[in-house]
């Protein structure tokens, strides 16, 4: 029984924390915080992901607890690939100027 409680408690706390974080992100979206709305909601998502990955997916566990260093390496490499995709692609998108052709009307090119 004690062993059961020892295993269940961290999972239960994670679940409660996830629901609290969800409530926080939803509530904060209704407050007018300008650009902080995006920062807060993405930060909360990152925290939720870290919690799910570390505890539910055993990324923070040793071999004896069901984890392994190899899993951490694989997860970090996946994340690194994502960062490379975003960094390289956006370095093009954010620095490219869109030139209007002479025969295009402003309405055609300007988008909201």
């Amino acid at each position: 029984m004690a062993e059961l409680a020892r295993k269940v408690k961290p999972l239960l706390w994670v679940w409660i924390a996830l629901l609290l974080l969800l409530t926080t992100s939803t509530a904060s979206a209704y407050a007018n915080l300008g650009s902080f709305n995006l920062i807060i909601s993405l930060t909360i998502s990152a925290i939720k992901t870290a919690v799910v990955a570390t505890i539910f997916m055993r990324l923070g566990s040793t071999s004896n607890q069901g984890g392994h260093t190899l899993f951490r390496i694989a997860a970090c490499l996946g994340l690194l690939m994502l960062i490379i995709l975003f960094a390289l692609s956006n370095s093009d998108f954010l620095t490219t100027t869109i030139y209007r052709a002479p025969w295009q009307s402003p309405a055609e090119v300007e988008v909201h």
Partner: protein
Amino acid sequence: MSTATANHFPDQETARVAANFGMWVFLATELLFFAPLLLGYTYCRVAFPQGFAAASRHTEVIIGTLNTAILLTSSFTMAMAVELHTTLSPRIYRLLLGLTALFGVAFLVLKGFEYHTEWEEHLIPGRHFQFEHNYARTAQLFFFLYFVLTGIHAVHLSIGIIWVLLLACRKSKLKNDNLLSNAGLYWHFVDIVWIFLYPLIYLVARHG
């Protein structure tokens, strides 16, 4: 597989590490499956902030929030099943897996209602798309991304549901049940994808 150590593994522990590592590598590739869509979303949101804000206000935030809570809870029941499958009776183990699958189905049902609402409001990109004229083009981009992202997520979720149901029909008495732990990893990954999709779709501009 999980009923006996495959011949080329010296012991169960090596087999477990190999199985889970393979799953993690696969999940890393699945992350790159969603990545280009998120890249497109990032570009559009930076380039057309008002259109995206206007479009996001037309999403069903109550269904979205409820779905997020459902998926988070399903991750909890899945983690319980994986963590406790040797400690619990087979019946409770099957109940936990069944609940996980049920939550997944509940998510899909709510998503179906949501898609139907969006169809009625003419928010499906294409010939019959209707939106206020100023933001029509970029709102259509938003909803294109919305339907593809949530659609592909729903496909992943369906695969997870079938996997979990198959596991529930099987009795597991193995200490290292690799099919079960890999299913857990897959389910949590699908949950993580939704954790990021939720604010990007539903919470863009809820204030004012």
